[in-house]
Symmetry: C2
Subunit: 341 residues, 2 copies
DNA sequence: GTTGCTGGGTTTATCGTTAAACCTCAAGCG
DNA sequence: CGCTTGAGGTTTAACGATAAACCCAGCAAC
């Protein structure tokens, strides 16, 4: 693996292109960035030269002069969940596609969110991508506002005044999936909800309640347990539910991991699925199609949402941080019916 | 009433630190990079200034002068598998920790690997991280060598002459897990192997054979099926195996996704697990503990391996590394026994 | 025929950092 | 005593792209 300094020919600079096209470097820059300061004729020659040499601008140099921002910080919770893994993977891919540098930071607790954001800014992040529950931890705080950073939150419950939001209608989705269970004749429906400091969890719970009440089946307190979006917490909750004197005939879990746990608890007791128990998940991560029986769940388009969040951030940074009200992007979810119901 | 921050706080540059410490910018640089060209006394003053101002070097400027390499390309196959997702997520985190920019590129087929590598180089990647099967696609080719890029392959079968390798002993691990099944009294052991153009797959199959032959139970051709590391391919294979006149009493799958598929096929037939059928996976992804029954599997420390690969690349780039033979880093695997056996 | 403007460029200065060359002073040495 | 040596700096010159200032030919207007 002998690796002498890369051959000088390795990197094509703007000067090389300029020489090839017989113009100044500045003109090449103008053409490349399409500022309009050039004639048709020169443009063609420059483009030809760019093409011939395979010129790719050096982003470090661009960044140095303060042109394009390129670093996006990502705040995530260090929880073992499919959603987090999938989002991290999606963010890595989407960032790469856009030539951004992703700075992913695990945040231990909501209290640390602000410090982490600050550290990211000091380390050169231009914008922030925020996963639950840190949207709530940051939004509205004066200190966060003082950072003066563009931020986008994925999978939140509602629009926020100080950051972009990219989300699905959690309440409607949750309602829809509960309705589906009711339509299938389930009458004793239990819920393993997410932590109530996640705004999306709250919405999901609300959606379930909507559906149940609409059918005259009020939610019973002993049939609702708060999980923490982890498999372990889901298992604990499911064990408690199935151990009741009058166990439920369906469980609505607030994410796939906890739904998988519910399947576990049912398998352990030798229940036949979905005859004795129907289970639904949320997110449609890879997990949903790997467990048995495959989970009926709500598809949340994670890749698309991540990409959208990045695009919004880029746009905001390009226009300069001034003024515009943050966009709320509502993506479409999809109810996916599988064997678990 | 707090008013908005006056300015997007001007970043602290090396000059500010220099002024504060009463030395030249170069001296600050020297102290920061610990080159040794300074006295105890100045060092203390400079460090104090750095601390007081909260100086963080501007990586764009650093990069511009060619000091630190900061972009790592990642070649991955666009296959739905837990291993890929987990590796992407791990790479995103490990890159962020090291201040590197990750450029992840999906590669459609081994033939495209070289083109993608070339594109990455043109886009400014300093080094390459390679996932199977692209290690084999690149290694040994003269064109790849001509790129003159440092590369590290994760999860390969053996050391390679022209890139770093970070791996576990797949053969031994596979042998161990097969031995475990034999020890549990399984006598008709089937194998769902990975694609044979993945070097690690080959090793895993070999390990199984080792174990079986060591116990006088030669591998039967109809009990070995090549999967493609996907759940779908695993399901197909498992269906065929369980449909045999003399079905196996154990299935060794070459990854967790295919093992999960084997569980599916068994559940479908109403088999009792692990009584009627034992199943083992490979990788110990999150999946292994989410399916029911939980998978006995080989733990491959993905996060650690990814981090190690990046460290090796950084080291190589820093030394400019003339002539050094590429390192082969053998990580320790762990046999994890769970309910599926 | 000066003045003013405008399309299509070029030149210059600059971003923050570091490699390399250069400076200075004191100590060591034959 | 003159010469080298080296520790501990400083100065200079990049790195590549771009913003801002500048230049200039031609054309229109008064």
């Amino acid at each position: 693996m002998q690796r002498p300094r890369p051959a000088p020919s390795a990197r094509v600079t703007i000067k090389a292109v300029a020489a090839q096209a017989g113009v100044s470097a500045m003109t090449v820059s103008n053409v490349f960035n399409n500022t309009g300061k050039f004639s048709r004729d020169t443009r063609d020659r420059v483009l030809a030269a760019i093409d011939a040499l395979g010129y790719v601008p050096n982003s470090a140099a661009r960044r140095l002069v303060g042109a394009t921002p390129t670093r996006v910080g990502l705040l995530y919770a260090g929880v073992d969940s499919m959603f987090i893994d999938a989002t991290l993977a999606a963010a890595a891919v989407a960032s790469a596609e856009r030539g951004l540098q992703l700075m992913a930071r695990k945040v231990a607790s909501p209290q640390d969110a602000l410090d982490t954001a600050r550290a990211l800014q000091r380390a050169g992040a231009d914008a922030l991508l925020v996963l639950p529950p840190f949207d709530l931890a940051l939004s509205g705080s004066a200190q966060f506002l003082a950072l003066n950073m563009a931020a986008a939150a994925i999978a939140t419950a509602a629009p926020l005044p100080d950051m972009f939001t990219v989300r699905i209608d959690n309440r409607a989705a949750s309602r829809a999936i509960t309705e589906l269970l009711i339509a299938k004749g389930r009458r004793r429906i239990a819920i393993i909800s997410g932590p109530q400091d996640h705004s999306d969890s709250v919405e999901r719970l609300r959606g379930c309640r909507d559906a149940l009440e609409a059918h005259g089946m009020p939610l019973m307190a002993d049939l609702v347990i708060d999980g923490r979006f982890t498999f372990a917490s889901g298992l604990e909750a499911a064990e408690r539910l199935l151990g009741l004197d009058a166990p439920p005939d369906a469980i609505v879990a607030a994410n796939d991991d906890m739904a998988a746990a519910a399947l576990w608890a049912a398998h352990r007791r030798g229940l036949s699925l979905p005859r004795d128990l129907a289970v639904t998940g949320f997110d449609d991560t890879l997990l949903a199609t790997r467990v048995w029986p495959a989970l009926t769940t709500v598809r949340q388009p994670i890749g698309q949402m991540t990409a959208r969040a990045l695009d919004l951030l880029l746009l905001a940074l390009q226009r300069g941080s001034g003024g515009a009200h943050p966009v709320d992007s509502l993506e479409t979810y999809e109810l996916v019916e599988r064997a678990s119901t």
